[in-house]
Symmetry: C2
Subunit: 365 residues, 2 copies
Amino acid sequence: MAFGFEVKGRCSTNLARLGTLQTSHGSVQTPCFMPVGTQATVKTVGSEDLEKLGFELVLSNTYHLSLRPGADLIERLGGLHKFMSWPRALLTDSGGYQVMSLAHKRRVSDEGVRFQSHLDGSELFLTPERSIEIQGQLGVDVSMALDECPPYPCSRDEAAAAMARTHLWAPRNLAARREGQAVFGIVQGGVHEDLRRESAEAVTSLPFDGFAIGGVSVGEPTEMQYPVVDLAAPLLPDDKPRYLMGVGHPRDIVHAVAAGVDMFDCVLPTRMARHHCVYTLQGRVNAKNAQWAEHNGPWDTGSTFSATERYSAAYVRHLFQADEPLGARLATLHNLAFYALLMEDIRRAITEDTWPQLEAKYKDA
Amino acid sequence: MAFGFEVKGRCSTNLARLGTLQTSHGSVQTPCFMPVGTQATVKTVGSEDLEKLGFELVLSNTYHLSLRPGADLIERLGGLHKFMSWPRALLTDSGGYQVMSLAHKRRVSDEGVRFQSHLDGSELFLTPERSIEIQGQLGVDVSMALDECPPYPCSRDEAAAAMARTHLWAPRNLAARREGQAVFGIVQGGVHEDLRRESAEAVTSLPFDGFAIGGVSVGEPTEMQYPVVDLAAPLLPDDKPRYLMGVGHPRDIVHAVAAGVDMFDCVLPTRMARHHCVYTLQGRVNAKNAQWAEHNGPWDTGSTFSATERYSAAYVRHLFQADEPLGARLATLHNLAFYALLMEDIRRAITEDTWPQLEAKYKDA
């Protein structure tokens, strides 16, 4: 089935939309959260766990997979869905962000990015064409265009230069598509209103299948993130999915949905779990803390999660104290369930037009 | 329900028995294999996984649990079953073996073992009474008597001394029982036929609920293990369960069942999995080897396992190469499934009296 998107409902008090992404690996209810499966696995959990948690779209990383095990191998084995045994939809990033944050000896030119693998130092060259080709080999449902994401903080000139290169590359991404390959364009422009407007105009003039807000959640304080999202989201076409890359905390997701964003990914729930931090409606708590030593039930989340409700906080604290790998797994399942429930609550709040109650529920999360 | 054991069938060609253990946490079909959950968790897997794999009895370690999180805490929280959310039967060892292999500054006397915790150096004293008391606090279905297990190699005098102390302690274990606490006695005697006979006679004269063959699989070559098992198993009462501690390879289990053993535990399937070794009917293979790089199905085991059959050997190889924690988990599930299937095959071979075919199937495993 070809890629498609439909808006099915709206909030009366803000720009939140309820929608459905159509992909050849099933439909995805939006607003949605994508767990991050960097190396073709969401750390500590299997595809059967993600299915049970109800996720319909998972993100994986082009940079990591192209280095190991390699896109050629995954293509020969039947594509990324088959490789990781994930029957539902997949999205990959372009690899650009990881090249800038992980790779060595980067040299960016208008042609592309030359860099050395962080694994073995081998010299590689990533271009818009190559990124789209790799993502085509992986066979994912949504490919992301290669852009240049400037670091934070950066000067206005640097933000403008990265934006200009992003615009230069945008049509090259589209031209490299395989038949039927859905590609999202990315809007840059940093924290500068005029650049964001210029970038939205340039990128949305091209026939991408969806649009992402890039350059957010790259280290800036949250109070700078909200105005950018409030500005950038409504600049994107109403009839295409909008994806806020790398965000974020539950309350940040609630805010961005109200600004009109449909899709999210973030390493927080999975990374925090490995550092024994678990989400509750009162904020994140340290699962290793003595306060849980005799807590004979799950953490208080305002709900129960079938993923981990059979285990007590006392037990998971013991697992972390004893360096048992099951601790990180149970905390990961808990946090992913928290995010799955958050997105369910968000979609219900749009359907039932009860946004103030939703905002109140997650204000501390 | 009180603890009980019933022999339900026998092989016509050897001493193998089919039986049922009755416990207040359900019945256990024997011959059975107990996964090792040292710190109240079988490493990388949850209780729901063990239930799905069909295990009915899990072993945990008194030494580890008494140090962390402590038997008092587990008792206050409702016992070990509730703590690890395991509704089926549990067995704990006495802690003696771990004190001898892990603890510091051990001093064994007729009274008990004085030692320092390997975690924080605190001085502790383990006696038969204390071991049985701790296991009673944990609330397990089968407690093991504290014995003295000599290392291998050791002199005949050392084996005899350890045996004598084991006999001295045996009645003290029984005297320390709580109402209804089932306790197994342990036979020592090393590799010496006369000592094994003497030990079996002494220990089985006491009203234990089952009997274990100790001091096997402590470092001796396999060719020395088989004669000890062949000798020791038939010396144990026919109407009580027989447990061979710490064994072993699949072929060793097949051999011991044929000698009349009903119960097994071993860290091999779980420990090997964490070292990327997986069981197949052709023996263990290294899941990281290049031979699996493009193997687009599960490892060949003569069967499929629902636990891991959806994942290819190529994928699990990638997980290990990329240091992803899911690799150890999937290999652990695979190996535990291999052992679960082994025990199922063994019980079927007794029921159908087809032992030679079973032996042939597992001769290389």
